[in-house]
Structures are given as C-alpha cells and as structure tokens.
Symmetry: C2
C-alpha cells in the first residue's frame, strides 16, 4: 500500500462531500467491516467525526468495546464490495475474506486499514454518551492515510435502495469557507 | 413553486449523499441563510438529522432561539449563491436580497423555504443538549417538499477551499440496505 500520511487538518476535505465509507473494527480476534453513510464532520483539527452505527450491527459491539475503528474511503470501482458488506452480517461472515478486502495493520489503532480504499482514517471514540439514544459516536481521527495519486476521488454517495451517485466533475469558486 | 410533498420516509434519500445545503432560519423579524455541509441522517422515520451550526454564525442564534429551520437543497446552478451565503454574515447582510433568493412561507415552521432549491425540509430542533459542546443540533424533519421534475439532483458537495464536486452519474446495485 503506497500511501502517504495526510495532515489531520485536511481530513474534512475527504469526508465533507458525504462519501459512503467502510468502517472497519476489531476486538479480541474478531474484525468487521460495515458500510456507513450516516457521518458528518464535527470539528476541523483535531478532526472530529460524528457517526451513526446501528445497534443491530455486529460493528456496534466491536466499536463500543474496542473504542477504535478505521474509516476507509472506497472509490466507485469497489461498489460491489461496498454493497456486499452492507448485505451480510459480520456475525456470520468474515467480510475481508468474502469480499477480497486486504486488512493492513494500522499505526495507532487495532482495527485494520482496508488496502483497496483510497484513504484510511484511524479513529478513537472520544464520546459515546449518545450511543444508547442515537447509536451515535464521536470519533477523533488520530492518523490519516491517502493514496497520493488521487486528488479528486471517485467516491460513492448512497441515494438509498441500491442507488448510488458517483462523484462527478469538480468546480471552483472564490470561497472564504475553509 | 410547483413542488409536491415528499413522504417523510424518503427524506434520507436526499441527505445521505452529503449535499451542501442552505439552512434558513427566522426569529422575530430577522431571517438568515447559512451554507452547511456538516450534517448527517440519524434516523429514518420520523427523519432525524444531526447538524453542526457554528456559534460564530448568526444562524446559531436564530436556530437556538426559534428552534426551527428549513434545510434547502440547491443544485449546481445555484453554486454562486451557495458560496456567497458562506462568504458573508447574516448579521450585516440580508442574504435573500443580496443573492436573489426567494423566501416562501413554510407550512409548519416560521423559517422560510428557498424557492430556487429543488427540495425543502421543514425542521424542528428536538435535541440541543450538544449545542454548547459541539454546536450540534438534532433536527426532526416535519414536512418535506420536492420538485417533482427532479429525480437525480445535481447537488454540490464541498471539498473545501472553494472546491466542489458536482453529483455525477447514477449506478444501481442489488442492495438490501434501505
């Protein structure tokens, strides 16, 4: 995996457009991958990310217990695997094996990076007070990796019922927004 | 504005892809519009939306006091206005007048709909316990409107520093995800 470190202050530029992500978790020898679209940036630096992980998912257990995860950002070429990870439960299936995803050790967390994704954000849970009420976790990105060849990733954006928008062209406007 | 009501159970299909939205608020004769990318779905039905509104923005005051807002979804044709609303403060400028946005009365909240947007989601604040710590509000969508001519909106997705991805093509895959 020829990735470089991405400065933490630039993480928002990957997550703000709203891509479908693969959330990888691990705890006591079990790992899981979950397809997630319900996430938002909450602060720039250190980057905080709010994320809904349903308590019906195996990942909810692994995330709650390990308090660590990796947010992996897939491009459209991985669409089949992204949907596959959403269609089965990690309680029954090793999704890495089933979908040919390569688990690579992370630098700061126990959850694995997914090599096939263009970017990987190593995260720690910093606030789980809303885990019961909303299945909502606040994550801090502690280390970020990106494929240096990719400037405008062809991310997937879930429209529901198996329909995805694929990232289109880029436009630039004179903005004072960060 | 020739819009039809959108069933509340379908609201997630508009917000999940992560579009830039225009948040409109009103309180005691003052109205504001704010450009927002930091939002996420939190539940399907009734639709709950989590949203960060910085306390440096005039909209934070109006939202906190009125406890109502409208999430308006613009298409790429409105890019100039979207960036414009992010570049100035509503404390000094009437953004509706400045950017030629048409305020239309909503059905259930005091904040106005923006006619030029393809969809409008009338919202009430249902949880503001994280407003101080994270500037985070939980909104419930109580009424939704959509332009019936639009099936795959050409939404804007913020990549930071004035760079936006415009929604590209649609792909379909056999998914069990809602």
């Amino acid at each position: 995996m020829k990735k470089r470190t991405l400065p933490l202050g630039r993480v928002y530029r990957l997550l703000e457009p709203g891509p479908v992500v693969l959330l990888s978790t691990a705890h006591r020898g079990r790992a899981d991958v979950m397809t997630v679209s319900w996430h938002t940036m909450m602060d720039f630096e250190p980057p905080l990310v709010g994320c809904v992980v349903s308590d019906r998912n195996f990942s909810f257990e692994l995330l709650g217990r390990s308090r660590q995860c990796v947010i992996n950002i897939p491009e459209a070429a991985l669409a089949r695997q992204v949907v596959g990870c959403g269609n089965v439960s990690g309680r029954r299936v090793d999704k890495f094996a089933r979908f040919g995803l390569t688990a690579v050790p992370a630098a700061q967390v126990a959850a694995p990076l997914i090599a096939e994704c263009v970017a990987n954000l190593e995260c720690r849970v910093v606030d789980s007070r809303w885990a019961k009420r909303y299945c909502f976790f606040v994550l801090e990105v502690v280390k970020a990796w990106i494929d240096p060849a990719v400037t405008a990733p062809r991310t997937l954006h879930h429209r529901g019922r198996g329909e995805f928008m694929v990232a289109g062209r880029t436009i630039r406007l004179p903005s004072r927004m960060k």
